[in-house]
Subunit: 351 residues, 2 copies
DNA sequence: CTGTTAGCGCTTTCAC
DNA sequence: GTGAAAGCGCTAACAG
C-alpha cells in the first residue's frame, strides 16, 4: 500500500508569514509588502525575503488574508438586456451560487445593457470605473468597447470577457469557447451524420457581422470543404436570431431545393427553424444547432435536432466568478478548470 | 441600464456571529453551538437562535471559520495501483492543484491499492479510520467494501466514491458518470455514424464482471436494439483491458466476419484494438471508445477512432476535492458544478 | 446549559 | 524603509 503526499510540507504545521519574517530577519509587515509587490522596501531586502519565501515554498493562507482585508469584494456582470435564454441561464446559475458568494463576502451585481450597440456598451463600462474589484462582460469587438475595457484594467479592475471576446483588449481572461472549433465540430457532425448522402447543406445564422457567428461559419465551411466534398454548402441565411424571420427564410429555401440534406443553425431563432423543417416534412435533414435550452432539449428528445453544440452556461458563470476572485486575490488560475469545453450534446447525453 | 444585486444584504456590511448573538440575546458560543448542531443548548434557545439566523439570512464567513479551526484537513485518495492512464491523469490533475490545496491548508494523500481485490481494498479503507477528514475512493461494489465505507462514514469521515460507485453504501457522494447513459451514448454514436449501413457490431470490454463495463454494455445494447435494427450486436469479447488479448480476440473476430461495420471498445486495451483494426485493413469500421488519453487522442486525429466517450479526469479530481471540502465544512454542494458530464469527443472538439 | 476569552494568520494603520 | 500592534469573524477551550 504505497502512500504519497501531494503537498511539499507533509504533515507538519504549515509555515506562516511570521516564520518567513523571522528567517529573513525582518518584520511581518515587510514580508507582506514584498509578497504583494508593494513599494517602500529596499531592493536587497526584497531579494532576501523573496528568497526565503521561495526556499520554503511558502503559501500564504488564503483564509487569513481574506479575513484580514475586511471589506467585501464587488463584481459586476454586464449582460445583454432582452430575453436571451442562454444569458438567462447564466444569470440563473449565478443566482444558485448566492449562498456560496455571500459566505465569501462577494457581491455580484448584474448590469443589463444593450451589448449590440458599441457606444451604449462602452458607456456602461466606463460608468463602472473603480467602483468594482472585477467586471465580467459579454463583449462586442469594437474600438470603443476595447478602449473602455482597457480603461477599467488601467484603473486596477480585473476584467474577464464572457461568451464573446475582445482579443485585442487588455482583458485579463476570456471565459468562453473557441468558436471556430465549435463551427468545425458542427461541420463534422453534419457531415458524419449525413452518412455519405450527397446534397446541399443550409446555414442559418443571426448575422455574419457577429464575431462568434462569423467564426462558427468559418470553421464549419473549413470542415465541409476539406472533408465532405459530397456536400455543398449554400449561402448563409441571416435570420437576426429571430424565430419568424429565420423560419421564413429557411422555408423558402427548402421549397426551392429538394436536395437539402443538412442544416446548421448557428445562433438562435431555433423555434422558427424547427417549424420550417417540420412544415416542409423534411424530418430526415440532419439538423445541428447550438446550446441546450428548454427548446433544443425537446427537439433533441423528439429527434428533430440531431446534435447541439453547447457551452455549459453554469460552468461559464462559475468560471467567471472564480477567475475574477483568483485575479483579485492574486492567486494563480487553474487553466484547465476554467477552460470552457465544446460539448457535443445528443439525446443520450443530455445534461 | 438595469441593476440588480444577487446577495440578500446588498452593500451594507455583512452580519457576523456577534450580531446574531446580540439579536438573539445569547453569547457568541451559543450561536456557534446552534450553527453546528452541537449539543448542550436548551431546545427553545436553539429555536430562538435559528430564527434569528434565518430571519437575517445569516451566512457565516467561511474564511474566518477556516482560520479559527487551526488544524489542516487531511484527505486520502484511494486509487488503483498499476499503470492505468486514466487514473494517472486524475493523479496528475491533483498534482496541479497543489498550490491551491496548500493555500487552503489541505493535505491530500494518494494511497495506491489493489482495487480489484475487494478484501485488499476493504482492508486499505479500514486502515484509514479516523485519521482522515475525507476519503475519495475508486470503489468496487462488494459487501466488504461497502462495510468498510460505512464504517468510515460512521466514524465521521466524509466519503466520496470516484469513477466507480457503491450505490448501496452510505457514501456521501459519487463523483463520476452514469455509465448506462454513457453506453447509450456510445450506441447512438456507432449507430448514427454507421450511416444506415447494415451489418454487425463488435464489443470489446475488460470484463462483464466490472460494474461500469456491464452498465455501459447494457446501455449500448438498449439503444442498438431499439433504434438500429439494421445492426446486430455480437457477443462481448472480454480482453481484460489488456492490449494483446483484446487485439487477438478482435483480430480473430474480424477475420471471420466480413460484415462488421461498428466497434465499441468499452474499456482499455485500446492499442491492441486499434492495431487489430488496421492490420485487418478495416479502416471503415466505426470505432467508438472511452476516455481521452494520449493514445485515443492520436487515434481520433488519425481518423482511426471516430469518437471517444469521456469523463473529464481533471473535473473529477477537482470535484472530489471540492465535495470533500464542502462536506467537511458543512457547506452545501453545488450539484450542477460537481456533476460529471458524459463528454462526446471527436477530432474537432478534442480538449 | 451558557458565557468569556484567547488565539488562528494575515492586512493595515500608525510610529519610528 | 521598517516595525509594532490592533483587529478581521470565527472556533475551542475553559469557567461558571
Amino acid at each position: 500500500m504505497a502512500q504519497e503526499t501531494l503537498s511539499d510540507a507533509p504533515t507538519v504545521a504549515a509555515l506562516t508569514l511570521k516564520d518567513i519574517a523571522r528567517q529573513a530577519g525582518v518584520s511581518l509587515a515587510t514580508v507582506d509588502r514584498v509578497l504583494h509587490n508593494r513599494p517602500g522596501v529596499r531592493p536587497d531586502t526584497v531579494r532576501r525575503v523573496q528568497e526565503t519565501i521561495a526556499r520554503n515554498a511558502f503559501q500564504p493562507h488564503v483564509a487569513a488574508a481574506e479575513l484580514a482585508r475586511g471589506r467585501a469584494r464587488r463584481f459586476a456582470f454586464v449582460m445583454p438586456s432582452g430575453p436571451n435564454p442562454f444569458m438567462q441561464q447564466i444569470e440563473a446559475y449565478l443566482g444558485e451560487m448566492s449562498a456560496w458568494l455571500s459566505a465569501r463576502r462577494l457581491n455580484v451585481e448584474m448590469i443589463a445593457t444593450d451589448v449590440f450597440d458599441p457606444s451604449v456598451l462602452a458607456a456602461s463600462l466606463e460608468a463602472l470605473s473603480a467602483e468594482y474589484d472585477g467586471v465580467a462582460v459579454v463583449a462586442l469587438d469594437h474600438p470603443g468597447v476595447r478602449a473602455a475595457i482597457n480603461d477599467l484594467v488601467e484603473a486596477g479592475t480585473k476584467v474577464v470577457t464572457l461568451v464573446s471576446d475582445v482579443p485585442s483588449s487588455r482583458r485579463h481572461h476570456y471565459v468562453g469557447i473557441d468558436n471556430i472549433a465549435a463551427g468545425r465540430t458542427a461541420g463534422a457532425l453534419v457531415g458524419r451524420l449525413a452518412g455519405g448522402r450527397s446534397g446541399k447543406v443550409a446555414i442559418v445564422a443571426g448575422s455574419q457581422g457577429l464575431r462568434d457567428h462569423a467564426e462558427r461559419i468559418f470553421g464549419f465551411n473549413q470542415v465541409m470543404a476539406s472533408e465532405f466534398p459530397e456536400l455543398s454548402v449554400m449561402p448563409v441565411l441571416e435570420g437576426r436570431d429571430e424565430d419568424d424571420r429565420s423560419g421564413q427564410l429557411l422555408a423558402r429555401l427548402l421549397g426551392r431545393h429538394a436536395d437539402i440534406v443538412g442544416l446548421y443553425n448557428v445562433g438562435a431563432g431555433t423555434q422558427g427553424v424547427a417549424k420550417a423543417l417540420s412544415d416542409a416534412g423534411r424530418g430526415k435533414v440532419v439538423f445541428v444547432g447550438h446550446d441546450v435550452t428548454a427548446l433544443t432539449r425537446r427537439l433533441l428528445l423528439q429527434g428533430v435536432m440531431d446534435a447541439a453544440i453547447s457551452q455549459n452556461p453554469g460552468h461559464e458563470a462559475r468560471a467567471a466568478v472564480r477567475v475574477l476572485l483568483a485575479l483579485a486575490r492574486g492567486e494563480p488560475i487553474l487553466r484547465e478548470q476554467e477552460k470552457i469545453r465544446i460539448d457535443i450534446v445528443m439525446r443520450d447525453n443530455l445534461p
